[in-house]
Point group: D2
Chain length 349, copies 4
């Protein structure tokens, strides 16, 4: 059984483990004031070509989302998110638990644009309603689509004009940046969004997200918020060491490229076999629409999510690749798919 | 410079790192549904001789405290804690941020007893005041003292009689259980408290606390609370693997014993040199009262907290030992202390 | 200028003011422990034919919604509401501010049924999502529609089967119960919902909503929640006196009947003039679709909300009647409408 | 039985009720946008000689405290209050329920000074602890003492220097301002505190507190916070009409003076009878220390709280006067006390 269920099925990239071993017996400060964390933060700033960024390392996506958003907003302020937004459905009300409403916007492709946000602003006009203040986007989105530079610039301009914060969930940011369809650089983000994070957990680390706060007014006292939300690890070095290793050279980017390359092969082969996709996702998550009988066949040897029913005979499944996905596994999956198709004599649309 | 500042200055016990490497490329489920976590939980139940316990692995102490306490209480219910309680001062209002007041009880030795709690109950009599519902204790306490079995039994009985939950912060539980003055077993806790945790971060793990929920009514839906508070790690295996390694044999206990033994040597030698302690702490935190000049001397080569001013010429410092503390370091410290005393001709009281 | 904007444009029914004067100099207990409140509660129980109800008097709708819902739910539990639900859009995130997500259900007529709720339950399957626990309905709904007995019985059965609380916002409950289309009695509610409130503010009182808690498990400690949310008035008698007066005889029902009667006349006359309604609302809120030119004409002498644009030339407006609406005002409105139609030679559809 | 239990035992001053009747059938806007509220706000600004104040009318003290404090603070910021502070013990954790810790300062006379606050600041030094940000004082305090102008100026200066907000709970502000020992004017407050409120409930109104926000940065969006906390009454005119009446002429001050005058007589007579007081309170709350036997005698005809046990034979009681207290009642109380003393032959200290 090989799993394409997600990008956190394995441990960490071996270099991460080596770095942990290497540093293991050196004494250092706790709570993220260690030399590894400081170096990692410096490296990240350098990589983004700016010194005026505040960077904090946290453990996971939900924790980062809830700590950042609750730190940025006043009690009556609300978040605008696509209906696919991770915070909206898949984080057990973590944002609401800090007191803030999320305004859901119905979208097809997981992406928000100016007119979506304008519509939400137009509906929230006075003190009997929440005040929309932060726009939450994910890149890639939860269904694998990505924002290109032009789209993000438009969104950024609109948010600035309307005094809204733009926050980017980057749990899979590596895959977005390395996508062939992307023309965004890490260094663009400091200018285009108010805060974002660089996901480590799904790209080679054991745990870890690097939150980058770009807007000056959002920086103050952020470590208080981390501590209050249980996000300040006593052994903060665990996070520092990992990000240091991921960004010491090009490892982070190389791992994301590998994940995307594996997805590219899968996508091409599934297309070639005549299948369509629920959504055009140029990153490491694919949503092919397959005949239910084929899905049942594949489930014997592969683990993946059945995402949604498309019609009586076909469903979309989710296949996720990662830094750890082996090319052999991809090829075996393709081969098994083809074999199943032949055996079943499935009529393709 | 050798640090006695705390018990999280180094990484993890080497066996932990080996276990991470060993399992690294095995695919498994996310969010704590992996085989390692399940095995670790089974082992812990076995160790406590009971099957009717719910056990969850979380990342750190503040996270565990805030997730558990907010899950256990209704909005108007409050916590009773000693004024030294970690949640009261050193967690940036994490409990209050979930909506609950902590009622502070002034104590000398960090320990609560029946009469303290009774006094708090007597003061909270109607709906104009919060309703005290959960008693928070730490073992060892934040100043290194420990509860013996008799004391805990008294407290447990009182809480049961008064329909209060008894919650034990066990960030340093290993040191309490292994203290020479303790007659408590891990297996006693399931019977005496409603929930507690077994701290891993300060006893050999990179991160990790094992929360044990003993009272039936507190178990329901706990994973929802974990997810909502950002405490459900995508790679939950990181926690499972560590607790599996710590409890596969006697490693957890051995590491705590080592920490205590190092503290015992320090305590004995400091006493022998004629110094008193701020508090009689039989665990891995010591609070010797030393002349300020001696402290300044020692600070050249050793890192530690100056805890409190005792009089014009003396202060209490905090020395913490851990699984990673080297006996050489202890002996060197003692030697350097003695040298400094000779050199300074310090007059001891 | 006569206002049909809402049902809280005037003060209180004169009998309410007389009751306040009558009792003004009698000393009594504070915080709702006065004799008036106790009598009002007894009267309400009698009216519902049950003694096993807990009844609390609060100041307004938002306060009642947030106090009750936050008292009833645990942190990970969520509310299900129609997209028109008052708590969803028009209470500034009051429910989310207490930590709970509201799951929005798209409906046409403001009313929830079993299949709506089932769909929400089917989407919330595990601990990565909130746990739906309370169904919030309004009767009448925010667009004036009402639940009949059969519909409410269906909903009640479904909620019981699925272990959900059913909560009814009754800010305009009088109008629902007195509607010609209703076959619900006040005494049915204790059996069909877990909690509901009887709105006073919009039916003759200065302020005041009577929350009735029917389900045993939701009753405990409710006054603590009221105090914590600022809902326990020092002069609680202000609420008690008003509900005592409203329910001492048939005043509450008489006032609601009057409001409905005024709406009935308006509805009939507007229909007779050839206009349709956005929604079929048998209570004291009407949503006629009128030509924009007619609306402009009417706005010279009447205040009301323009609710929504229907097409290029027509919009829906909201007309609200109340216990204080004068029949002359209704007749004058009709007359002015007819005059405007004649003058304008408006072509009716 | 005559009650000295509190200052909210009766209804409202008759002029308040007349004003309600007078305006009862005039239609006006809801939610505090009516002409009465606007006029009341203008009058209050005029009375304070400043136009740059934001004034909002709320229902009660706890509601005002929780709405204002939660609106003013960010999540990690805390309140400093005297251990007698109403929000600390007598509001069921209302402030903590909005997420904020209250740091308690032990004081004798209910009053905070610079050194108290400095001590709290010195203890809260980094992100592991909450950040003290708002100083909460009550004037009069919960034990009847008052701040004079000099004390308040000192406190104000200290707070400004330390970037702290100074918030004054004025539930009984009238009594403080009219106390013979006070040299504070209402117009001083705009300059000395960042926000405060003028209590109506305990000085002639049915309900109502006028919150005055003086600091520019705290004004923004305050009505959103009111709505979110259930503090925006649909019939906001109920509050406006009352404050308009109280401040249309000198009624508010006259009522407070009456309450104080009644207290002055009581205080003088009790002193003359040879009894001491628990605390020197120059406002409308008195805490005489009386022999237990005398207390028992008095309880036959008078209602009051027994505040605290002083020694085996004496206790302090609380006597509260108000705008509604009748001089006859005071004189009768004194007479009955004297009779009881004679009858009992009580030995005075």
């Amino acid at each position: 059984m090989y799993s394409f269920k997600n990008d956190y099925s394995e441990g960490a990239h071996p270099r991460i483990l080596e770095a942990l071993i290497e540093s293991n017996f050196k004494q250092d400060e706790g709570y993220g004031e260690d030399c590894y964390t400081r170096k990692a933060v410096d490296l990240l700033k350098e990589r983004m070509g700016r010194n005026d960024l505040d960077i904090h390392l946290l453990s996971g996506g939900t924790q980062t989302n809830l700590t950042a958003i609750s730190a940025f907003l006043r009690p009556h302020e609300a978040v605008i998110a696509a209906n696919t937004g991770h915070i909206l459905v898949h984080e057990t009300g973590a944002i609401e638990a800090t007191g803030h409403k999320i305004i859901s916007i119905e979208v097809e492709d997981g992406k928000l644009n100016d007119s979506h946000i304008k519509a939400a602003l137009d509906l929230h006009t006075d003190e009997h309603m929440v005040k929309p203040k932060l726009v939450y986007i994910s890149n890639p989105t939860e269904i694998g689509t990505i924002y290109n530079k032009y789209e993000l610039e438009q969104l950024s301009r609109f948010c600035k004009e309307n005094n809204l914060f733009l926050f980017m969930d980057g749990a899979r940011l590596g895959s977005a940046l390395c996508s062939e369809e992307s023309n965004l650089e890490l260094s663009d983000l400091g200018r285009l969004v108010d805060a974002f994070y660089i996901g480590g957990t799904k790209n080679g680390a054991l745990i870890g997200e690097a939150l980058v706060i770009c807007r000056q007014s959002l920086k103050e006292d952020f470590r208080f918020h981390m501590k209050q939300k249980g996000a300040l690890l006593a052994k903060g070095r665990l996070l520092g060491i990992q990000f240091l290793e991921l960004f010491r050279d090009n490892l982070y980017i190389d791992l994301a490229k590998h994940a995307n390359k594996m997805a590219d092969i899968l996508r091409a082969e599934i297309s070639r076999a005549g299948f369509r996709f629920l959504v055009n996702s140029p990153s490491n998550q694919l949503f092919p629409i397959l005949p239910n009988r084929l899905i049942t066949d594949l489930q014997k040897d592969y683990a993946f999510f059945v995402w949604s029913k498309v019609d009586a005979e076909n469903s979309a499944i989710r296949l996720v690749t990662s830094w750890a996905t082996k090319e052999e596994a991809i090829l075996a999956f393709i081969e098994d798919m083809e074999k199943a198709l032949e055996g079943d004599n499935v009529i393709l649309k």
